[in-house]
Subunit: 448 residues, 4 copies
Amino acid sequence: MLLDTGVLDREQAEPILRGLSELLADLESGALTVEGPDEDVHSWIERQLIEAVGDAGRRLHTARSRNDQTATALRLWVRAEIEGLLAHLVMVQRQRLEQAGEHLETFLPGYTHLQRGQPVSLAHHLLAWVWALDADARRLQRAWDAAGQSPLGAGALAATPHPIDPWHSARLLGFEAPYDNSLWAVADRDYVVETSFSCALLMVHLSRWAEEVILWTSSEFGFAELDDSVAKGSSLMPQKKNPEPAEILRGKSGRAIGDLTAHLVQLKGLPLTYNSDLQEDKEALFDAVDTAAGALRVSLPLAAGLRYRPERMAAALEGSYVTATDLADLLVERGVPFRVAHERAGAMVRVCEQKGVELWELDEAELREHCPELEAGDRDALRPEASVRRRKTWNGPAPEAVAAQLVRATEAVDRVEAWLEARQPPPIVHAFGAGELLAERIPGSEAD
Amino acid sequence: MLLDTGVLDREQAEPILRGLSELLADLESGALTVEGPDEDVHSWIERQLIEAVGDAGRRLHTARSRNDQTATALRLWVRAEIEGLLAHLVMVQRQRLEQAGEHLETFLPGYTHLQRGQPVSLAHHLLAWVWALDADARRLQRAWDAAGQSPLGAGALAATPHPIDPWHSARLLGFEAPYDNSLWAVADRDYVVETSFSCALLMVHLSRWAEEVILWTSSEFGFAELDDSVAKGSSLMPQKKNPEPAEILRGKSGRAIGDLTAHLVQLKGLPLTYNSDLQEDKEALFDAVDTAAGALRVSLPLAAGLRYRPERMAAALEGSYVTATDLADLLVERGVPFRVAHERAGAMVRVCEQKGVELWELDEAELREHCPELEAGDRDALRPEASVRRRKTWNGPAPEAVAAQLVRATEAVDRVEAWLEARQPPPIVHAFGAGELLAERIPGSEAD
Amino acid sequence: MLLDTGVLDREQAEPILRGLSELLADLESGALTVEGPDEDVHSWIERQLIEAVGDAGRRLHTARSRNDQTATALRLWVRAEIEGLLAHLVMVQRQRLEQAGEHLETFLPGYTHLQRGQPVSLAHHLLAWVWALDADARRLQRAWDAAGQSPLGAGALAATPHPIDPWHSARLLGFEAPYDNSLWAVADRDYVVETSFSCALLMVHLSRWAEEVILWTSSEFGFAELDDSVAKGSSLMPQKKNPEPAEILRGKSGRAIGDLTAHLVQLKGLPLTYNSDLQEDKEALFDAVDTAAGALRVSLPLAAGLRYRPERMAAALEGSYVTATDLADLLVERGVPFRVAHERAGAMVRVCEQKGVELWELDEAELREHCPELEAGDRDALRPEASVRRRKTWNGPAPEAVAAQLVRATEAVDRVEAWLEARQPPPIVHAFGAGELLAERIPGSEAD
Amino acid sequence: MLLDTGVLDREQAEPILRGLSELLADLESGALTVEGPDEDVHSWIERQLIEAVGDAGRRLHTARSRNDQTATALRLWVRAEIEGLLAHLVMVQRQRLEQAGEHLETFLPGYTHLQRGQPVSLAHHLLAWVWALDADARRLQRAWDAAGQSPLGAGALAATPHPIDPWHSARLLGFEAPYDNSLWAVADRDYVVETSFSCALLMVHLSRWAEEVILWTSSEFGFAELDDSVAKGSSLMPQKKNPEPAEILRGKSGRAIGDLTAHLVQLKGLPLTYNSDLQEDKEALFDAVDTAAGALRVSLPLAAGLRYRPERMAAALEGSYVTATDLADLLVERGVPFRVAHERAGAMVRVCEQKGVELWELDEAELREHCPELEAGDRDALRPEASVRRRKTWNGPAPEAVAAQLVRATEAVDRVEAWLEARQPPPIVHAFGAGELLAERIPGSEAD
C-alpha cells in the first residue's frame, strides 16, 4: 500500500517486501523462530527486517503504530479462529443430521419441566440441536463481520499526514472497509466481545445438550448408553460408567460466560482511545475460543459414542399418559371446544390411573361413554406412535414432516459450509505466500 | 389463521374474532382492566372471552399452548422495545452529529493511556461515539431479527395434529417465518439473550462516554462545564457541581452486565424443552431494556448540558509535546526512515524539556541543526492546529476529512431511521385495531 | 451523641430529639407518610423536623453529610435483612432436620456423575443440605459483621472539625466500631458485595437442591411425588404435574449471580471517595436479598410438599451393583490389598451382568471360588441395607452414625438461632421506640 | 492414620510409609519427575509406590477414593496459596504505611464525584487503601478457614466400612476438623468460590487504586510522576510516559470477576454429589489466584515508582473553594444552625467567584458583614492547611489524628503478619519432610 500510494518509492519498498517475504519463508521453513528481547512481535519483525535488509527496514513503520497494528493482527486472528470454529460446528451439525436420518421412526417422550409431555421422534429431537447450532453459526458469522473493519491508517489514535489509502490496506488484508474514525478504530473492541459472546451462548447450548446426555445415560432414563471410549470408570466403584466428557463440557460453559464477563468489565468506564487494559482482552478471548473449539471437538466422539436405546425410549412412552393431549385434540376434531376437550381428557387420565391402564387400552365402550363424539378406531389414535404420525404440520414430529425438516436443516448447514468454502486468504497472504503478486508488483524482483 | 385453514369454521371463528375485538376495544377505552384470579394474561383473555361470547370462546385455545403463546408475546414485546431503543439511540446520535458540526475546528488532545497523545478535533472525538452507537444499532437490529421467528404452531412442545398454517400465523403477527422445529421453538431464548447482550454492550459504550464526561468536567481537565440543570449540588459542600447523571449512567452498566449474566446462567444446563426457569428471564430482560432506554434518555439532556470550553482544550495542547509524532512524520516526508525519525523526534522533545519551550517555539536554526532535512517553515507544521489540518486521510481529524466523515455518519444514522420508519404494525394489530381486516374477513360481521 | 459530646447543648438538642420522636410516632401510626418534593428521605426528615420544631431543626445536619448518612442507613437495612434471611434459613434447616429424623432407615443410592454410586440413607442425604445451609449462615453472619462499622463522623469524606464521638454514635446504632478512615468510610461498599455474594452462593446451593427435586419428581427417578399444592398443571397436557417452584428457584440463581456481577462491575475502577455510581448498588442489593428471602420462603412448602417414595428408592438400589465397592472393602478386611480387591470386585460385577443377578444373589460357592478370602455369610453383607449399616464412621451413612450427625447438625442450627435471639435492637431504636432512653436523657421532656 | 487405627498393621503400613518417604525424597532431589500415562497424580503415586515396594503398595488406596483425595489436595493448595497472597498483601500494606508516615503534612483535595471536595492529607488518602486491603486480608483468611475441613474419610461419596478416624487424618494434614457428612464433603466447593470471591474483590480494590494512579499521573492532575522503571514509552509518540502497569492491573480485575462468575455458573444446578464439572474449577481458581498474586506483586514497584508532587497537590487546593464546608462548620461553632450556615457558605462561594479570590483572601470586613458571627482570625481557618488540622476526630485527616490512625493500621497489619507467622506446616509434612515422626512411628525403620 505504501508503494502503491507513493508514500514509499519502489527503491524503498522493494527491500522491505523482499525482506518480509524471506522472513516469512524462514519462519515457515523453521529456519527462524520468534524469540528475543523485543517488546512484542511487531518490534521483533522490524528488528529482523533491519538486520536482513539494513536501513531500508527502518521505513517499515511508516504511517502506522502498534495501536493499529495489534488491533489489525487480533482481527485477522479472530477471523481465522471463527472460520475454524464454524468448520467444527458444521461437522457437529452433519453428525446430528446423519443420526436424525436414522431415527425418523424412533419415538420417545418430549419433555417439558423434565416431565414427559408428548411423544416425538428422536430425529425431531436431534434436529432441535441442529437449529440451535445454526443460530450459533449466524452469531459467529456476525462476529466475523464485526472483525472486518480495518484499523490500519488510524495510527496511534489520530491517523497520519501521509497520503495513504486505508481502503487499499483493508482490501489487501481481506477486510471489507477501513474504520471511518481513527479514534474509534483503536478504542473499539466490539468484535472481541461479540466473539466471546458467540462462544458463551454456543457453550450454553452445548451445556444444555450435555445435560441431556447425562440424563439420558443415567440408569433412570437409560435412553442411551455410553461407549467405553468416552465413558470413564471409577477408582472406587468398579461398576460405574461416568459421562465425564459431557459433565466437563457442561462445566466449561461457566468458563465461557466468565470470559465474556471479563471482556465487558474490562471495557467498562474506559475513556477514549487506547488503554492498556485492552491488552488483557487476549487471555480471555483465547480462552473463550479455545473452550468453544475444544467443546465442539469433544462433542463429536461423545455423540458418536452414544448408543441410543429405542426400547427404553418406547418404554418411557408408557405409564405417563403422554397422549392425553391427543385425546383432547381428537375431541376437537370431532367438534368439541378445546377447553371442554381438555377437561374431558384430564378426566379420562384419572380413569386410566384408577384402572392401571393406558389410554389406548381403555375399553372402547367406556371411552365413548365419556366421549360420545369419538368414532370407532379413534382409540388407536391414542397410541404414541399414532400420535406422532398425526402431528405433521410444518415444524411437527411426524416422520414425513421431519423428513422435510431434515432437508431444510441440511440446506441451512450447506449454506454455512458454502460460506466457509468461499473464504479466500486475503490478497496479501497470497502475495507473501506464493510470491506471485509480489513479483508482479515489483518488476525485476524475481531477478534476485 | 384457524378460520383460514378451516380448523374452525366461520360460525365458530366469528364470535371469537368479534369477542376479541370487543375485548381489545374495552381495554383501550379503559372499560376493562386486566385483573382477577387467573394464572396469567392468556387465561384471563380466555375467561373474558367465554364470559362474553359463551361456549364459542372455549375454542380459542385450539392448536396452541401457553408455551408457544408466552414465547410469542415476549417476542412481540422485544421487537417493540427494540424499536423504541433505536428511536432514542438515533436521537442521541443526531445530537452528537449536530455538536460535531459545530466543532470541526475546535482542537484538543486525543488521549491514549489517559496521556495526551496527538491533537484532534472535538468533532472527530464526538463522531467516535456516533460510530460506537452505530454498532449498537446494528446489534439491536439483529436482536430484533432474532425475535422474528414465530413459535406459534409449536404447541406445548410437539406441534399439533390440526392442519394449521404456521407461516400464516407468522405473517399475521409480522414475523418473518415460523420455527422449523417445535421443540426448539419453545426451548429457545436466544433472542432474549441477544437483546440483553445488545443492551449490555450499549451500556458499556455509554459508561465509557460517561467516564469522559466525568473527567472532562473535573477541575483538572475542565474541557466542559455542566449546566446546573444536570449538575447536582452537595448537601455538605456548597461549592460543588457533581456530574451525577454521568456517574449513575456509568454505574448502570453494571446492572446491564448483571442482567446478561442472569440470562446466561438461567439457560445453562437446561434440557429440552420448556422449563419454568425461563419464566425468570422476564425480570432481567425488562431491567436490561429499561436500563438501556433510561440511559439513552438521560444522556440527551446530559450531553445538551455540557458546555464545552475550547480555551481549556487549547491550553491542554501545550506542554505535552503532542506534535512530536508530527515532527517524526515530517522527517519521514523529507526522506528520513521512520525509525530514525522517531528517535530524532524523541531527542527534540528532550531538548524542549530542557529549554522549557514547545516544539514550535524552538529556534529554527537549532531545529535544523538536529534535523537538517527540515525546510524553512516546517517548524510551523508542529503547531497543534497545523498538525490536525495535515492529517486528512479517510478517517483522520483534519476539518475537511471530518466534514466528509460527518456526511457518512449522517448517512449511517439515516439508514437506521429509515429502517425504523419502514416498520409497520403487524397485520393482525391493524385488523384488531381498526376492525377493517376483520370486517373484510367475516362478511356480515359489520352488521353486529 | 451531639448532645452528649456538647456539640449541641440541651436547649438545642431537646427539640430535635422530641421532634424526631414525634415524627417516628406519626409515621408508625400512619398519620404521616414519606412523600414530597424532597431529594431523598434524609432531606424529607430535615424538612419535616423544621416544620415541626422550627429553627432548632436546622441544626439536625450538624457534623454529618448525606454520604455518611446513606451509608449508615444502608448498613442498618442490611443487618436487619440478614437477620430476616437467617430466620428463614433456620426454618428451612429445621424442616430438613425433622425429615431426616424420619428417614434414618430409608435407603437410596447416592450419586456421583448422576450415576448410582453407593447406598446411603435419605436422612444422610437431607443432612448434606443442612450443612450446606450452615455454611451459608456463617457467610451471612460475616456479611452482617462487615456491615457493623459505622460511617458516622466521616461527613462527606473528610470528617468534621466538631468534637464529636464516632464511637458513641456507633454504639447507639448497634455498630461495633466506627471506621478508622473517613475516606474509606464513604467509599467502601464491601458489605454490600459480601451480602450479595452470600445471597448468590446461597441461591446456587438452593439451585442444586432444586435440581434434585426436579430429578426426583421425574417419572424416571420417581423418588418423590409433588403434592398438588406445589405442583402446577399444564394448559395443554392434562396429565402433567410440573415442579414449577423448583424450576423457578433454580432459575432465580441466575438473578442472584447477576446482582453480584452488577455490584462488582459498579465498583470496578472507581477512584476515592464517594461516586454516584454507588447509588446504583441499591437495586441490585434489594433484588439479591429479596430473591434469597423469597427462595428460602418458597422452599418450605416445596419441601413439605415432597412425598418421598421409599419403594422407588429401594428399587433403584437394584440393578446397578451399588455394593461392588462393599465387596472390595470386604476383601480388604479379609486381607486382600485394596487395588487387588478393587479389580476382583469389578470382575464379579461382570459375572453378575452375565448371569443377570445381583451381587448378593450370586451362588455362595461361585463367589468364594473367585474370592476365596470370603467367609460364610459375607454374601449378605453385599445387600444395600447391610452396606449402609456397615459404614458407621464419623461422617458415614449408617443409621447410628447419622443419628449422631443429626445431633451435631441440630446443635449447629441451634447456634445460629441463639445468635439471632441474642440480637437486640440498637439502643437508639430502643430510645425512639419506647421513649425511655430519651426521657432519661432529656430531663423534663416527659412533661410535654 | 490407617496404622494408628489398626486398619493396616505395622507390617503393611511400614513399606508404604517408607516408600512414600523415598518417593518424596526422590521428587525433591529431582531424581524423579511426575510423568507417565497415569490418569492423574494420585494414580501416578500409587503406581510408583507399587513399583518401589511391591504388593504392599496396593494397600495405599484403602479407605479412600479420588473424590476425597482431589478435594483434599485442592484444599491444601488453596491454603498455601492464600498464605502466599497474604504475605504479598502485607508487603503492599507496609509500603503504603511507610509512604503515609512521610506524608502526614502533604495536603491535597479529597474527591467525591471526581470533584474536589475537602482538603485531606496524602497520608490519610494512602491509609484508606491500607484499610481496604485489611478487609481483603480478613476475607482471604475466611476463605482459608473454609478450606479447613478435611474431606478424608468421605470416600467416593458414602464414607467407608473400615474403622478409620477422620479426625486423625484431619489433624495430620493441619485441617481443623473432618466434614460431618460424606456426601457434602465431595460435593462442596464453597472454599473455591470464597477464594475466587476474595480475589475478585481484592482486584476490584486494586482497580480503584490503579484508576487513581492513572488519574494522578495524567498531565491534568499531575499529582505524581511515574519513574521510567514502570512507565512505558510509545512506539509512535516519543513524548509519552504511559502508566501501563496500572492500566493492566485495572484490566485484570475483569479477569478475576470472570473467574468468580465461572465458578458460580459451574456449581449452578449440580445435583449431589461429585460431578466432573467440578474438575473445571481448577483453571478458573488458578487464574484467579495467579491474577491476584501478580497484581499484588506488580503493585509494589508501581507504588514505589510513583513520585508524588506535593506542589501540584497544593495547587489543586486553590480555585475550587474546598474549604467552603469549613466556613459552614465555623459558623456552626459560632452558633449558627447548620442548614443556615450551609446556605451562607454557598453565598460566600458565589461572592468569591465574582471577585476571583479564594475564601481566605476575602476582605475580613466583607466576610463578617455576611457572617457577623465570625471572629477575628476566623478567616485563616479557611486556608486548606488549617482546615485539615482542625479535623482531628477519630477518623479525620488532621496530622495528629492520622498519626494515631497510622498506629492502628500498623497494628492491623501486624495482626495479619502474626497470623501468617503462626502457620505451621501440617504434622504430616513435617513427618515426611524430616523423617522424624516417621521414625518414631515405625521402630526399626531408621535401620533401613
